[in-house]
Symmetry: none
Subunit: 87 residues, 2 copies
């Protein structure tokens, strides 16, 4: 059951913001907002877009990294998919 990719963060509901964002981002990736191998919005951008703290955004991204939905490169960005195999 996919969540709504256009949902906003609900600070009152039972689901914590970071889990909400994780679901939203997965839905946006599934919808094709960002293609495989391409960077998603930066943490700062997500902070502005969803009105939540960077630590909360990072927590959501941690979930996606754990689930191998995205991978991160310091100083570059967060990419859809999995990291390239080591040479």
């Amino acid at each position: 059951m996919a969540s709504n990719p256009d949902a906003e963060i609900d600070h009152e509901g039972p689901v914590t913001p970071y889990r909400q964002l994780a679901e939203i981002l997965k839905a946006r990736i599934a919808r094709g907002d960002w293609a495989e191998g391409r960077p998603i919005a930066s943490e700062t951008r997500l902070v502005q877009e969803y009105g939540i703290a960077r630590t909360t955004v990072r927590r959501a991204l941690d979930v996606l990294v754990e689930e191998r939905v995205v991978w991160k490169v310091q100083g570059r960005g967060t990419y859809v998919g999995q990291p390239p195999a080591e040479s």
Copy 2:
């Protein structure tokens, strides 16, 4: 009430470093340390001078840009005043 242009950063007080620096820089500009249209000290210089991180310096400068006290040009510097009107 203007702040002291010769103040140093107090990491213990109630006012955060980036706000302190913003006030200090405004005081220095008001005093004439840097004239209208001229570049102020570089970010790296301010980092060394005040012993704070570049991200913190940039945060202080963001405040000054927002208040139209200075404007920045990538690759050149941060200038006192406002950007020249578009031709």
